[in-house]
């Protein structure tokens, strides 16, 4: 009798469960890719996108790592997902990969933090710790979506490729004549000497668009829009013609500075 009573109460007032590190429930974060005001479509040559520089482009490939998910309640109680299950590879070509599914204590969360990339600790871990999406063999070679750089040990955090007519056919553009742009952004700060660090930690306040109410009996989903247009139109806008290939050079920090602005909390499904 008491039991039923409690459940009844809970339904009515929806009280926040006590925060307990062991009382885990599912939470998902949805990385819904968009391009400016339009939906994300690969190779839509019939209706290309257009950036702030007025350049038309299409997207042929998109993958990025999301890791180290952490949530925080309005009262400031925080929980960091076990690092062994906190690495996700979001793939533009695979809709199912857009959810980062984790388990966190039951509670109401007003703040979400995650990393775009692979943190330096994991980037220097022994080979046994590099399983699943972090397996250097995963995704095979670079043409097929591999996200590991062998020659300069480390992961590619963000890999974004496409085509634009504005790209020249010479060595400054794409000498193969395919007019491809390639942004392969990595660099975690170096093993022994400090190098560029493009790891970006993103924190989102969920209050305005809806806090995440995580309970065992339901699936709370924080729905984010990830606007790829920001790569070009972010805080340091650049043109594709001027920078068609950014991989291992200082300009990678500019691209990373832009893509950190891609994320916007649209709503939460509780």
């Amino acid at each position: 009798m008491l039991c039923i009573g409690l459940v009844g109460c809970s339904k009515k007032d929806n009280p926040v469960p006590e925060f307990q590190e062991t009382n885990l429930a599912p939470l998902s974060i949805e990385f819904d890719n968009i391009v400016g005001a339009r939906t994300f479509t690969l190779n839509n040559t019939g209706s290309p996108y257009k950036n702030a520089a007025g350049e038309e482009f299409t997207i042929s490939f998109l993958q990025y790592f999301i890791s180290n998910i952490k949530v925080e309640t309005a009262a400031g109680k925080s929980y960091t997902v076990n690092p062994d299950s906190s690495y996700f590879l979001i793939k533009g070509a695979d809709k199912d990969s857009r959810f980062a599914k984790v388990r966190v204590p039951e509670g109401d969360y007003a703040k979400l933090t995650f990393t775009l990339g692979v943190d330096s600790l994991r980037s220097t871990m022994p080979i046994d710790k590099r399983t699943g999406v972090l397996d250097p063999a995963a995704g095979a070679d670079h043409e097929n979506g591999g996200m590991y750089w062998g020659w300069n040990s480390g992961y590619i955090f963000f890999k974004y490729e496409g085509n634009s007519k504005v790209i020249s056919d010479d060595a400054n553009g794409d000498p193969t004549g395919k007019k491809q742009f390639k942004y392969h952004i990595g660099f975690f700060g170096g093993y022994s000497v400090p190098t560029i660090n493009n790891i970006k930690v993103i924190t989102m306040d969920l209050n305005a668009a809806g806090i995440a109410k995580v309970r065992k009996d339901r699936q709370s989903n924080v729905h984010l829009f990830v606007d790829l247009m920001k790569v070009f139109n972010g805080k340091t806008p650049f043109s594709i013609a001027a920078h068609p290939n950014v991989m291992f050079n200082d300009f990678s920090s500019t691209v990373a500075g832009n893509y950190v602005e891609m994320f916007k909390h649209d709503h939460t499904e509780n």
Partner: protein, 347 residues
């Protein structure tokens, strides 16, 4: 461990040693002694705790090292570029010669004493031996394969399923196991039986007068970079080679730090007799040419090591007799036992 355990081990050790004396070669093959740190070497830097060396792991690693299926068209193995008789370099090739006869831009370095290396490749970029093989396997001019495919090709062969089981307990073939086995083989490739080592360990050998004078010169002029007993301090430095046609900038390419331009890893000077041509792009065909570089050809390129610019002079002054003596000393670093050790050969 108790005192008693130590005694047992000691007695057993003596017994093995005694056996070794009688049939040195046979005993080496039959008894797997694991990784043994030569008494004149420092502690290794490789984390053995994470990859304990076993006979089975080593043998699997050896099979993989000589396995051409690691390349796209099954023609090139690690051993194609790292040839034992050349102290695991690619003799006669200035830059590496890989799949479909494609040429790389760098000289194949020796696979030797890698347990003491903190950084790999001429220009760094790889800092963990267990991650190193990914590079040659996936490089266009080397093996042009992808790891996922290699694992697939290997896993269908009963020979490898058995070898993985022996080495790791089950047939499961993961990236980690594959890499660790290759590491086990490479870690075992210890070169420590040169005349120099025998002199240092007081095993009865003595330097000739010329070698001894060369040794003194070496300590004075070369040892600050090629430090004993590994003959490298493991650092990256610019030793004044003129900028190459492909403008290889060494360490800079992986750090993008201005002061790293044209710095390359200081190579060991062991086994020079077998490892010509020399330097990162194999530009020197002879030791004499290399020594003359230090004497008169050092170029003032960005980040030239200060040791090579003293009292307003570029390079290291070496007279004809100095060079002769140095060459005599460097000759004591050749390790014939290493290049002939059957354990490291393709079986």
């Amino acid at each position: 461990m108790t005192k008693k355990h130590w005694m047992v081990l000691l007695v057993f050790g003596l017994f093995v040693l005694a056996c070794k004396k009688d049939h040195p070669i046979k005993e080496e093959i039959e008894k797997f002694l694991g990784f043994q740190k030569p008494s004149n070497f420092p502690e290794p830097v490789y984390n053995f705790a994470n990859n304990p060396l076993t006979k089975e792991g080593f043998e699997l690693g050896r099979a993989l090292f000589y396995e051409p299926r690691l390349s796209r068209n099954n023609t090139i193995s690690c051993g194609s570029c790292h040839i034992q008789s050349s102290a695991f370099t690619q003799h006669g090739h200035d830059v590496s010669h890989g799949i479909d006869d494609r040429l790389g831009t760098r000289n194949s370095p020796a696979i030797m004493n890698l347990a003491w290396s903190k950084a790999f490749m001429w220009g760094g970029g790889v800092y963990d031996l267990d991650l190193q093989p990914i590079t040659p396997i996936t490089t266009h001019e080397e093996m042009d394969e992808n790891l996922e495919n290699v694992l697939k090709k290997i896993s269908v062969l009963p020979k490898y399923r058995a070898l993985f089981k022996q080495a790791f307990g089950t047939e499961e073939l993961s990236t980690a196991r594959f890499m660790k086995a290759l590491s086990q083989f490479m870690l075992m490739c210890v070169s420590s039986h040169s005349k120099y080592d025998q002199v240092m360990r007081k095993e009865g050998a003595v330097f000739t007068a010329e070698e001894q004078e060369g040794y003194v010169l070496f300590q004075e002029k070369c040892a600050s970079c090629h430090s004993e007993p590994l003959f490298t301090d493991g650092s990256f430095r610019n030793n004044g080679l003129g900028v190459s046609a492909v403008n290889d900038q060494g360490l800079y390419a992986v750090t993008l730090i201005e002061t790293d331009r044209y710095k390359f890893k200081v190579p060991s000077l062991r086994n020079l007799k077998y490892t010509a041509p020399y330097t990162h792009d194999g530009r020197f065909l002879t030791l004499d040419g290399m020594l003359e570089h230090y004497n008169s050809e050092v170029k003032d390129t960005p980040n030239l090591d200060p040791l090579l610019r003293k009292n307003g002079r570029l390079g290291i002054e070496l007279s004809g007799t100095d060079k002769q003596k140095l060459a005599a000393f460097l000759g004591t670093l050749n390790d014939e036992a290493f290049i002939n050790d059957k354990r490291f050969s393709e079986q």
